[in-house]
């Protein structure tokens, strides 16, 4: 239980001149939900492809279940359930064919569970995959990823482009998966309210680097929005220290800090300012503050 299920060390990857991953190190514990968040083009899909053996590490190492997924695809992949971002499924198959085809690859396949899922998701066994709507396609992909009760469920942007009903199915699937002992979910998303609901740990991937990797509660409680009133007007907020970002002008500033309340009070008193309020932040706001980050400037977002 204590062994990390996925261990990535100093992974680097570039496509031609574009650097996709710049020395990523990540250790994902067994059991629980791990949320990988980042903007579009941050490198999330590239990272996930490395874990599946679809990309080989140009430098650094990837170990999943202690195995190298490139060297031992069968050992690694037979314990992974994967839902890709573009719901890559063979259009020409019918649903029942898709199920019986996928079943043959996984010794742990549970046919009754597959049938339950099929009925819950309302998938017509005779329908061609080509004729499915987007939401139904996602459900079909989810079915074949879940039915063999994988030790690790990897979802790449599972909710993108889906209606709220299908999104609930996906979240429900994530929760049911980890409610079973010892199973793990790794999902990448930029729908942060979903990540907030289900993730135990999160990592922020920004411009190919891991900005932050911590338990969800720690991230949530660690970041606070502080409304200040300065005694003297400034055009630029003095950078550094506990302040990660924020905005404002002259006297009134709304800043984001990563610190305990005591440390915040101290820092504010050093600035000769008044605290108007200290509020918790949603994951959305935390993410924006951490990744939009440049120098703090007057008037605009930093």
């Amino acid at each position: 239980m204590n062994q990390p299920i996925l261990e990535i060390r100093d992974l680097k990857r570039n496509f031609g001149k574009k650097i996709a991953l710049d020395g990523v190190s990540l250790s994902i514990p067994t059991g629980g939900v791990f949320g990988l968040i980042g903007g579009n083009g941050a490198g999330k899909t590239t990272l996930l492809k490395h874990t599946l053996g679809l990309l080989s590490a140009q430098s650094g190492s990837v170990r999943i279940f202690g195995l190298d997924p490139v060297a031992d695809p069968v050992g690694a992949l037979s314990r992974i359930g994967y839902l890709s971002e573009n719901r890559d499924l063979p259009d020409w198959m019918r649903i029942h064919q898709l199920i019986s085809y996928t079943r043959a690859f996984y010794p742990n396949w549970d046919p009754e569970y597959a049938e339950t899922l099929r009925r819950d998701f309302e998938l017509d066994p005779n329908a061609f995959v080509k004729t499915l709507s987007r939401g139904q396609r996602a459900r079909a992909g989810l079915l074949v990823a879940l039915a063999h009760r994988p030790d690790l469920l990897i979802l790449d942007e599972p909710s993108s482009g889906l209606d709220p009903v299908v999104r609930r199915d996906i979240l429900g699937a994530i929760i049911r998966t980890i409610a079973d002992e010892g199973r793990t979910v790794l999902f990448s998303s930029h729908l942060l309210d979903e990540v907030e609901r289900v993730a135990d740990r999160i990592a922020i991937l920004h411009q190919g680097r891991i900005q932050l990797c911590a338990p969800m509660e720690q991230v949530r409680s660690g970041h606070k929005r502080v409304q200040l009133r300065l005694s003297s007007s400034v055009s630029h907020f003095p950078p550094g220290g506990i302040w990660i970002g924020g905005e404002g002008s002259r006297h009134d500033w709304s800043m984001v800090a990563e610190a305990e309340i005591e440390a915040i009070r101290e820092a504010v008193s050093l600035l000769n300012a008044d605290i108007l309020s200290i509020e918790p932040m949603s994951l959305d706001d935390i993410f924006v503050a951490r990744t939009a980050g440049k120098a703090l400037v007057a008037g605009g977002k930093s």
Binding site: P73, Y82, W92, S100, P125
Partner: protein, 537 residues
């Protein structure tokens, strides 16, 4: 043909969609081109080497006619697939007429252009003077008719009789421009007369109106449907659709996948061409020896069909636009080596079925002829003929399989270009340089090519061995098989060269054939390597 387009926006959209068509379907277009070009090059090249390429010989007319048909069909089929359905244009702000024009005109021009260009290139390289215009326009016309009919009757059983009727009428007309309809072609279609232009115009206008009607009905979801076909398809679904296959293991499942998706291509190609050959023969001439000769050549042409099918078999991509392996297949827990074996087995099954079809037709004609009292010269079918065509088809199919299995778009395009370039150089060298340089070139090319293939095979086996994709046992078997084959060839050659007369001597041919034979064992090492290269980038 149609009137010129007035609206500039339609032109702009047309251009963009044309580029899009090429980008989406480059794979199919390349296959069509490669398939269409290889046939004439092969045959004309051999004839030329034999010294039998007499430009003014009346026998050339039949060859010209056949090639024109083959090329027209190949290009037509691939462009038909590439053009796609007009339904993707329905949401754009275009009138029905604009859609019709965008759908029909670029594709038709492409077919005409490709046909004319290929004949022109053949003329250039082999010093022929075959006419371009007649056949090119004719195939454009046939293509346009085919396309509009497909759009109109796509959901209806009427498609079959409509297509057959059109095809028959128009092919008879084309045949009639080459001489009497029910015998061998006797003339070239050198001048396109006013009557011809009128026929073209009429057929294109008919295409246009049929196509317009098709779009008119299908744009609002009101296609022509035969209720019978709907009823039948529901019935079939009821009876067979619900049956769930149970696969014992991953290998079985993947074999089913590969066969269902791609395995049928080779037998279908063979099945569409070979059984129809006696039919065409009946219309042109009725000597059995001629038919047998044609079937004999078709035996060799199985390699070309094999090459095309191999390219398709190795395509692990999601669509025609990308041949790299998609994530669905890439994440299946199936070892690369097992997978490559499944692919080779599918190729073998595919090949066997196609060869069987050919063999059946061939035997029927052979024994039918014997019963009718015909007698054949012994050298028509030497003992090595049948094994040779099977091995050649196998080598071609599996080599193409390995090429497209790599899933590397750029490499494939380069290879395709190199292949065409090589064909052109090989056949034109005699025209450009002096005789003795050409002789030297042929000597080096043939020997060098053979040696290169042999070394390539050894090299690939070495790499595969080092990466544990093959074991010593496999290598030993491969070595024995190859040695045996080369030994047989050497023995046969020493008894006399059953090949075109030449000044090169036996050696280059021996080296060439040995090299080609090594391609028989090449794929067993190359396929897993190619697949691994595709799967992990």
């Amino acid at each position: 043909m149609t009137r010129p387009i007035q609206s500039p926006s339609v032109m702009a959209i047309s251009r963009v969609l044309f580029v899009d068509m090429i980008r989406r379907s480059w794979f199919v277009l390349i296959i069509g081109f490669v398939g269409a070009f290889s046939l004439p090059f092969l045959i004309l090249g051999v004839l030329k080497a034999k010294g039998a390429l007499l430009v003014d010989d009346p026998a050339m007319i039949l060859i010209h006619f056949t090639f024109a048909q083959m090329m027209g069909m190949c290009f037509g089929a691939s462009v038909l697939h590439a053009a796609g359905a007009p339904s993707r244009l329905y949401v754009l702000p275009l009138s029905n007429r604009a859609i019709m024009v965008i759908q029909m005109v670029p594709a038709t021009l492409m077919v005409i252009g490709q046909t004319a260009l290929s004949i022109w290139i053949l003329n250039l390289i082999f010093g022929l003077n075959w006419p371009l215009l007649g056949n090119a326009l004719a195939f454009g016309m046939i293509f346009a008719n085919f396309q509009s009919m497909m759009n109109l009757f796509q959901k209806s059983l009427l498609m079959l009789p409509a297509m057959i009727l059109t095809l028959t009428l128009e092919s008879f007309w084309v045949k009639s421009r080459h001489g009497p309809i029910f015998s061998l072609p006797t003339q070239y279609w050198t001048t396109v007369t006013l009557m011809d232009w009128l026929v073209f115009a009429f057929a294109m206008t008919l295409s246009y109106w049929i196509g317009m009607y098709a779009i008119y009905r299908s744009r609002c979801g009101n296609e022509i449907q035969t209720s019978l076909i709907v009823y039948l398809s529901n019935l079939i679904q009821e009876l067979f659709g619900k049956r769930t296959k149970v696969f014992r293991n991953a290998g079985q499942a993947q074999s089913w996948f590969e066969w269902n998706l791609k395995g049928y291509v080779f037998p279908v190609i063979v099945g569409m061409v070979v059984p129809l050959t006696p039919l065409f023969w009946l219309f042109s001439e009725r000597k059995i020896t001629a038919l047998l000769e044609v079937l004999r050549v078709e035996g060799w042409l199985l390699s070309v069909a094999g090459m095309v099918s191999g390219l398709i078999l190795g395509n692990m991509g999601l669509s025609d636009a990308s041949i790299g392996m998609g994530q669905f297949l890439g994440t299946k827990p199936l070892a690369t080596v097992s997978w490559s074996r499944i692919l080779l087995r599918t190729a073998f099954q595919s090949l066997s079925l196609g060869v069987l079809i050919w063999a059946i037709i061939f035997s029927l004609v052979l024994w039918g002829g014997k019963l009718a009292g015909e007698s054949y010269p012994a050298e028509l079918f030497p003992w090595w003929y049948f094994p040779a065509i099977v091995l050649a088809a196998w080598a071609a199919m599996t080599f193409a399989l390995c090429v497209s299995l790599t899933g590397r778009t750029i490499h494939m395009k380069i290879l395709g270009g190199a292949y065409c370039g090589w064909l052109i150089v090989f056949t034109t060298i005699g025209n450009i340089t002096s005789k003795w340089i050409a002789e030297l070139f042929y000597f080096c090319a043939l020997s060098g090519f053979g040696i290169a293939l042999f070394l390539l095979t050894i090299g690939i086996w070495g790499v595969a061995f080092r990466r544990n994709m093959v074991v010593l046992r496999h290598a030993i078997v491969a070595g024995i098989v190859l040695t045996g084959l080369i030994g047989l060839v050497g023995w046969q050659f020493s008894n006399g060269l059953p090949l075109p007369t030449n000044n090169h001597g036996i050696t280059p041919y021996f080296l060439l054939v040995s090299g080609l034979l090594s391609m028989v064992v090449f794929p067993f090492a190359a396929a897993p390597l190619a697949l691994a290269w595709n799967r992990t980038r």
